[in-house]
Amino acid sequence: MVDGIQVTGVNAWFGSVHVLKGIDLAMAPKAVTAIIGPSGCGKSTFIRCLNRMHEVVPEARVSGTVLVEGEDVYAAGVDPVQVRRRIGMVFQRPNPFPTMSVFDNVAAGLRLAGIRRRADLQEAVERALRQAALWDEVKDGLDKSGTSLSGGQQQRLCIARALAVDPAVLLMDEPCSALDPIATARIEELILELRGALTIVIVTHNMQQAARVSEATAFFLMGELVEFGVTRELFTNPRDKRTEDYITGRFG
């Protein structure tokens, strides 16, 4: 079995607009890979191609192969629902389900996958909340509304919700862009703790964040992968002129 994520020749379109052009990228298992690049360069589209969320948008298309732990998620007969169960996702803005309590939010994925036993649910919810470093703050208010938490807590709740189904991969789409620096720091600590447990791909606008949390970094520009390498090398000694211009703030 091949671990991690292997992406070969991935192209993506919105209608007739070609937003990802022939991406080849291999993301190491149980490590953090950061995707950086200016707005509109296709980095969000790229991670949405990994869990087949790109095709949810009307008139969006994908081609190429994506191997997650050796399995082609775009192979004929593969159910996108099954793919998404193994690949968790956290979005830019915290989006807990407003009609559900903290507990129900975390249990949502498990319940809808058919797990009913109260004890199993309780165990999984506690484990996910501890993993997301939220347990101590919410353990006395598990039946409160998920939207009553602060923004940073809501985002950690969304991380717990994604972790509860025990995914092999966690995709994070600018998870800190709506949070203040303190909440951001907590999420970053959390990413460092989760490293080693599962494969994480994080899209970020914040280059310091990429440098702090990731082992490998990919730089995207106008739908193309410009450079991919070990994070420290990419930031200290970029091979491509465009990467250097971007990380030194000369454009973007």
Binding site: Q82, T99, T147, R161, A162
Partner: protein, 280 residues
Amino acid sequence: MTARTRRVVNRVMGELTALAAGLVILPLLLIFGFLLFQGASAINVDFFTHLPKPVGEDGGGMANAIIGSLILVGLAACLGLPIGILGGVYLAESRDRRMPWLVRFLADVLNGVPSIVIGIFAYALVVLPMRRFSALAGAVALAVIMLPIVVRTSEELVRLVPSSLREAALALGIPEWKVILRVVLPTARAGIITGVMVAVARVAGETAPLLFTAFGNRFWHQGLDQPIAALPLQIFAYAIAPYDDWHRQAWAGALVLIGMVFIVSLAARVATRGRFSGVR
């Protein structure tokens, strides 16, 4: 603008909006007060428990019409609400462009069709083949009147649910139909119930489409394939009759009708209240 004029304008506009809000509920209060004044004296236990008495005899009630209206509206809701809510979900969630546009347009046209015409439609569809006026025919007419209201409000409310919630649920590996059933509809619940109650209140008072479908009945409910009494029909019949005690009973019937709509709305809200609110 000086600080003083700004404060005065602010004050005046504030009062004006409050006045407008008061004027909105004034007609309801006047109607309710007038009905109480005219009809309260005819309301007693007999009114809720007895059949109408023959002309010339005192007393009697409208129990048959109260039960008849509950049956008619209940049956209409059973027919109209599932179709209406599912239709609204389709209009909001479908990726197709042309078909939803057509359905939306036709639903708005249907909403504008006079209710008596819908009564004729139910007459042709149900009464003629069955060769009999019936509760079923009345319920079909009322359900057709409910449909466009329920479809359009459900659609609007489902649209109001942020797409980020749908994405969060889909990304958890939840199939689309479950996402709609367990995340989208609960989030839109409070608003959809408002729309449903508007539709129920609207048909509870409909008279014209029942004239040649439910037809009315002076006796207890005898089965869904038989003519059935309804409060609006009975109010109409009593109001145009030349007897003073019937007029009083007609007023009382109107009062009971408003009271029933009020109680059903309230009960629906309480019974379906979620623990946390979604979109209103």
